[in-house]
Amino acid sequence: MQLALMGALSQGILWGIMVLGVFITFRMLDIPDLTVDGSFALGGSVAAVAAVALGLDPVVGVLLGVVAGLMAGLVTGLLHALFDIPAILAGILTQIALWSVNLHVMGKSNVPLLNVDTVFTRLAALLGVTQAAATLVVGVVIAAATIVLMYWFFGTEVGSALRATGNNEDMCRALGIDVRVTKVIALAFSNGLVGLSGALICQSQKYADVGMGTGAIVIGLAAIVIGEVLGRFAPGRLISFGSRLTAVVMGSIVYFIIRAVVLQMGLDANDMKLLSAVIVALALAVPVVLERQQRRRAYRRGTPAMGDAGARGRDGRDGAPARQEKGGER
């Protein structure tokens, strides 16, 4: 059990790097970018081929994984920016295309990394520790470096423009920001991190598989919502950007620990994706339901004479008059 938890911890951190990438698109641009499933496997495939077929240094393999992910994000971004293809559809197109691309990269559906160096074995030998410990160290260092990089980048002029793009595109254009460019940068950056994560996972599990990215986006979203829920209970409510990013990586760790625990308890591994989807759906649905209930309660308090029936009759229409007013103003 302890071993499983240890594995879940390092897996959670390595996947956490992907979650940071998903955070950029999902939370900052408000685009659920489905490229992720493909670019994660692409990062892994490239790293595997770099090690096995090309015999390259494992660090170079990881870097190639980053570049490959970046290019995948670039494709999605250009499809969206140049041809006005809706972002979700652009992501789906790239994801589907990457399935074939990944098979071509590997030449078959999976490549084992037998008897080759990985960044983890390299570090384990260097420090004289177990590979599990080395995995943890690499994960923590790279995740921390990624958070620092993101903290810096989103504080720069370009980074601020990017955050503004997710907030108010009208304003951005009025202030001379080309939102097509900022979106392409965001998608490339995001998928670069996803590729990095894919390459690291490939080296830690010692194989790459064409299906390794399937459902990655859902894991990413699950980790983000778990992280945000955890953040709500933390002191100071974790508002600052740096702590939000840290919370998201924590979310990833918690996700993989939950996963390890339920698998240990006898859940079929094939049911994991179902469980992930349920977690995300619940996390998105619960706040909506709570708010609706609150509104209903508030209405009942405000109109005691109407009683329960009246409240039910009016339910859900509270927002409508306000919206109409706004529209009529033009």
Partner: protein
């Protein structure tokens, strides 16, 4: 400064909803002109401003800013010349970003954005000074999210953002229409002060005929997609609301009957 030549725009061309919004508008603004624009609903006032800003592509005609033909430039490229404030206070600011971050974004309008830090210490001090001049107590709330501000406060901040990097032309699209009368008056007097201080060339759309007469040195009236009345200087200063209504009937053969205009 601004020269429109025969600008045309039709929305939904070729459908049953076809709507000619501008029918060959020609208009020239000189440096330092403060022009108010009035007209009924659907007269093309907002479309005029949007065509200048590049929100929609032109169907025909040319737009020149500062002697440069910008007819084919996209909205974000024209932004270097323009300061803009919209009717909807939500549209001019980024709600989830801090007040100072919004100002810093506006400060870089029309300039290349690189990897330098998005906001500097000197800027912060400058922003605090400028916010203090609004007299809304915002100078102590530099790092508050803009989303926490009221509509009037947001509109004041947007005005500051539009002018922090002196624009060649300031476009105000009914920027007080969504505010309560008291706040509207405050934002309007602020507008007047900013325009005077920087001697900004300004084009202001308004529903309020009194404001249109009181502010600026020139007034244009629009109807069915074109300018039907253009008055400046002493003649404009002597106008009354009754004059305007009469003028409208004369030129258009109809009544400028619009509850919102008559009530405001």
């Amino acid at each position: 400064m601004l020269r429109l030549t025969d600008v045309t725009k039709t929305f939904n061309r070729g459908t049953v909803n076809e709507k000619p919004a501008l029918t060959g508008v020609s208009l020239t603004l000189d440096d330092g002109d403060f022009v108010t624009v009035i007209g009924g609903n659907g007269a093309g006032k907002s479309t005029l401003l949007n065509m200048i800003a590049g929100v929609y592509p032109l169907d025909g005609g040319t737009v020149e800013l500062d002697g440069v033909d910008v007819s084919l430039l996209s909205e974000h490229r024209r932004a270097r010349y323009l300061g803009r404030v919209f009717q909807d206070p939500m549209r001019g600011t980024a709600a989830d970003m801090q007040i100072e971050e919004n100002l810093a974004l506006a400060k870089r309008r029309g300039r290349p954005r690189g990897l330098a830090w998005g906001i500097t210490r000197e800027e912060r001090e400058d922003y605090a000074r400028r916010l203090a001049s609004l007299d809304l107590g915002l100078e102590d709330r530099l790092s508050s999210k803009v989303g926490l501000l009221s509509g009037g406060q947001r509109q004041a901040v947007t005005l500051l953002m539009a002018t922090i990097q002196k624009p060649r032309l300031l476009l105000l699209d009914e920027h007080t229409a969504a505010l309560d009368p008291k706040t509207a008056a405050k934002v309007l007097s602020l507008t007047r002060r900013v325009v005077d201080e920087d001697r900004l060339t300004t084009l202001m759309v308004t529903h309020n005929m009194n404001d249109a007469i009181r502010l600026g040195n020139r007034l244009i009236m629009m109807h069915e997609g074109n300018v039907i009345y253009d008055v400046a200087g002493a003649e404009k200063a002597a106008l009354t609301v009754a004059d305007l209504l009469q003028k409208f009937e004369e030129v258009s053969g109809g009544e400028l009957a619009n509850d919102r205009m008559l009530l405001s």
